[in-house]
C-alpha cells in the first residue's frame, strides 16, 4: 500500500468494475460487525470451503487524512489502529479484511467473508446468513439514530405559527 499510488475514486468504482463495487458494499457491512457477532453469523453458513490465511493477520496503524476546509488538499489528522488479514480459499480466491481497531480475528473473518463473496457457490449463503442480517441490524440502528437526531432539529417557524 502506498499513499502516492494511483487510487480509484472514493467510491472505488473508477474502473467501472461492478464486482469491486459489490465487494466494497459487502465489506462496508462486514466491518461494522463486532468479532463475536461476525463469528456467530459465519457459523450459520455451516461447512466452509477449505481455506488458509494467505498472510498472518496483524495490527498496525494508518494515518487518517482530512481535507483542508473539508474539500481542499489533504492533511494528516492523526493515526488509527487497524488490523488486516488475507484469506485464500483452496479454489484460489483471496479475500481481504482491513478493520479499525486491534481486532485481528475480526479482520480474518472479514477477509474470509470477502473470499466467500468471490466464490460463486457460497455467495448466496453469505448474503443470506451474514450480509442480510447485518444489513438489517445496521439499518435499524441507523434509523433509530436518525430519529433521535431529527427530534433535535430546530424549527424556527414554530414561533411564528403559534400566532394562528
Amino acid at each position: 500500500m502506498a499513499s502516492g499510488a494511483a487510487q480509484p475514486n472514493a467510491d472505488g468504482t473508477a474502473d467501472g468494475d461492478g464486482e469491486i463495487a459489490a465487494r466494497r458494499a459487502a465489506m462496508r457491512l462486514l466491518v461494522e460487525a463486532d468479532r463475536d457477532e461476525l463469528a456467530a453469523l459465519v457459523a450459520e453458513i455451516g461447512a466452509l470451503p477449505e481455506h488458509e490465511e494467505a498472510k498472518p493477520s496483524e495490527t498496525g496503524l494508518v494515518m487518517v487524512r482530512g481535507r483542508i476546509g473539508g474539500d481542499g488538499s489533504a492533511f494528516n489528522l492523526g493515526e488509527a489502529t487497524v488490523s488486516r488479514a488475507a484469506v485464500r480459499l483452496a479454489s484460489g480466491e483471496i479475500g481481504f479484511g482491513y478493520v479499525l481497531g486491534r481486532a485481528r480475528e475480526k479482520a480474518r473473518l472479514v477477509a474470509l467473508c470477502d473470499a466467500l463473496f468471490q466464490y460463486a457457490p457460497y455467495r448466496g449463503a453469505l448474503e443470506e446468513k451474514v450480509l442480510a442480517p447485518l444489513r438489517a441490524r445496521l439499518e435499524a440502528e441507523q434509523r433509530k439514530n436518525a430519529e433521535h437526531t431529527a427530534a433535535t432539529r430546530v424549527d424556527f417557524f414554530t414561533l411564528v405559527r403559534g400566532e394562528d
Partner: protein, 367 residues
Amino acid sequence: MYVAVKGGERAIENAHRLLAHERRGARDTPELTTEQISEQLALAVDRVMTEGSLYDRELAALAIKQARGDLIEAIFLLRAFRATLPRFGATLPLDTGAMQVRRRISATFKDLPGGQVLGPTFDYTHRLLEGAAGDPEPPATGDPAPVAMPRVTDLLQAEGLIEPAPADDPQAPVGDLTREPLAFPAERDVRLQNLARGDEGFLLALGYSTQRGYGRNHPFAGEIRLGEVEVEVFAEEAGFALPLGRLTVTECQMITQFKGSASAPPCFTRGYGLSFGHSERKAMSMALVDRALRARELDDEVKAPAQDEEFVLSHSDNVQATGFVEHLKLPHYVDFQAELGLVRRMRATAEVETAREGDTAAQEAAE
C-alpha cells in the same frame, strides 16, 4: 551535565506500588471498567484520542484509567503506545460532506438547507449541578427522512463570496510531523496536523486572544458538524480502496474577514478545524488558530502571538511541553552544585570589592 546515579530502586518500586494502591481507591468502591469510561466519560476519551493522535476508544479509555484521570498523562501513554506499531499507510482523505450527521449548526444562516440540528449538546443547559436521577428518559424521535446538508462554505462559494479551499493535488506529498521534524515556515498541512494534536487549552487560549484583539479577524462559526464518516484505505494487494469502518469526527468551518486586491473583489476567508470524536471546543479553537496562522499568506500584519507560527507550533504539543516542564523534577544535583559554587564565588568577590571600596572611602575621608 548528566551523571548516572544509582540507588533508590527500592523507593521507586514501592512508590509505584503505592500509586497502584491509590489508583484503585477505597476497596469498598467498585472498580471502574474501561467500558464505563468509554461510554460515560466519552468526551474525555475523545480528547485523549485527538491529542494522543490515535483513534482507538478502548486504548484511550484504558489510558485514562491508568493515568487516574490525568488526561495529559493518558495522552502521553497513547503516544508511547503508537510508537510500538508499524504504519500500514494513509487513508483516503475523509469526506466530511458525506458525514452521517448527529449535530450540525450554523451561526451565520438561520434557515440553511438541511437545517440546524442540535444533537447531544451542553449548549442551552443551565449548568446547574444535578443529583443522581436514575435512568434518563429515552430520547425523543422525529422524522428520520434523510436531508441533504450542503456545507455552508459551499453555499457562499457558489456566489464567490468566500475563498475556495486550497485545490487538491493527489500527487502532492502531504507533510507528516511524525516522520519529518517541524521546520519553518510550515505549510498549512503541517500546521493543521500540529494543531489537530495540539493541547486544547493552549489553542483555546490562543483562539480567545484573537477574539480579544490580538490578531483580530472577526470570526463567525459558519458551520460545526459532528457525526460519523467512512474511512477507506487503498490496499495495493487488493487493487482497490477497502472500507475500514467509520470514525466519529467534529468539524468547524470558521468564516472570517475579508481579503481582496486590486484585481480580485473582497471575499470572506476561512479557518478550519477537525478533530477525533466529539470535540467541539477543540475544533473551534483549531479553526481560529488556523486562520490566525494564515497571516503571512493573507497579508495580515503579524503582531500577535496567535499569528506567530514558530511560537504557536513549537508550544502546542502538551506531551513535549510536559516532558520539558516536568523534567525539572529529575535530579539536577550536579548542575545545581555548579550554580551553588558560582553564586558563592560571586558573593565572595562582591564582599572583597565592597571591603576594598570601604577601605578606599575611609582612606579618602581620612586624607
